[in-house]
Amino acid sequence: MWQGFVDFVYQYVPWFDGGLAVVLIILIKGVALILPLIIMMAYMTYAERKVIGYMQLRIGPNRVGPIGLLQPFADVFKLMFKEIIFPTKANVYLFVLAPILAFVPAIAIWAVIPLGQDFYITNLDISLLYVLAIGSVGIYGIILAGWASNSKYPLLGALRSASLLVSYEIVVGFVAVTVVMAASSVNLNEIVSSQSGGIWNWYWIPLFPMMIVFWISALAETNRAPFDVVEGESEIMGGTHVEYSGMCFALFFMAEYINMIMMAALAVLMFFGGWHSPFEGVPYLQEFFAFVPDIMWLLGKMSFFLFLYLWIRATFPRYRYDQIMRLCWKVFLPLTIAWIMVVALMTQLHLGPWF
């Protein structure tokens, strides 16, 4: 279909040369990925309110549309028509730049996330490295927001979140190293294809502690409860978001939720076989589920992890800041370093179906 479209354009628009067509196609593909992503993010907020509502014996939003299904759109339109307040003491340029700086990496990561066997924007050889690298750029947005607001609580929130995010960044990096060791590749597509062959071949078994560590770090990296000291309502009134309003706040919010979806996708790609069906190699079941497209498996596994975010938020109380840092530096870091040696040993001994 793309080829047909390109041929059509070549035929009728003579000044349209090859390079421009390539960029245009990537642009169309990008918009076709980002728009569903933003809708997914909007419904993630709806799901969050609804699920936590039911977990707390409330009913959640139910006024806008049937069972509240249009609530996310109502929220978006409300935020659009809200005033963007520029505090007099704030550094206005940095103040406006900060949410954009938080939002851009959240979008840019999705260029390399494969959603299916042949369903990706680009297939980089270093895609996992790229995800780690550009994921840390988002921290600048939060630091800048705290600094540019020129207010006390945003500054405290920014400091806390900056050192929390960089600490857990190390742990995520070491976990990624163990996955790379197991797959012998930094390419996310190859990491997934090396996990083919049913549920027992996925990396969650040999890397089980790393899977747990990764998921807890993902909660911390995306500032989710129980690690949401960045916002910390009871202590610093909403952290870096205090001085933001209207669409500027919405951008932070969207960046956080898109990062949540990205972390869920990454957990599935690295530990749960990506788009592979869990019934591969199982007689009867494999044929029975053969009609399911591979992207549906990925999205299904992702939705479990997205639900896990909400479940954890409704279950656990917020950690104290020193406990979070202790968990990272004194529990996770030694554990991941030890597990690197374990994985190295397992690789040398060619253990099981994984290595």
């Binding site: 980002i34 260029a111 680009t122 607001s149 207010s151 990096g173 012998s184 800041y321």
Partner: protein, 118 residues
């Protein structure tokens, strides 16, 4: 080869376009009625006691320094991790020595109390 990286630039531009676009939409559609109280910095309903460019705990700085060290270690690990199944026991022992040095440094900073947050 290099055209694989083109979508990244396109995505970064798309992100900037979405970000700037949404901010502009909010700026144009929203009202703009600034007043002194609304635009003052937030401090629980009273004027701020002190300047917000204040002193902060040196530990945040320490964490940033430790982050640079450990993140570099991760950067060193990744090339080894890609080929370590082919390197055999030679690569295993070589990296064990490297890891041992890292662990010694880690134990040192732990005993020095660089990781304590009271």
């Amino acid at each position: 080869m290099l055209e694989n990286y083109l979508p990244i630039i396109v995505f970064i531009f798309l992100g900037i376009a979405f970000g700037v676009g949404l901010t502009l939409v909010g700026y144009l559609l929203g009202p703009s009625k600034p007043d002194e109280e609304k635009n003052s910095q937030f401090e629980c309903g009273f004027p701020a006691f002190e300047d917000s460019r204040m002193h902060f705990n040196v530990r945040y700085y320490l964490v940033a320094i430790l982050f640079i060290l450990f993140d570099l270690e991760v950067a060193f690990f990744i090339p080894w991790a890609v080929v370590q199944s082919k390197l055999g026991w030679f690569g295993f022992i070589g990296m064990s020595v490297f890891l041992l040095l890292l662990v010694v440094g880690f134990i040192f900073e732990w005993k020095k109390g660089a990781l304590e947050w009271e």
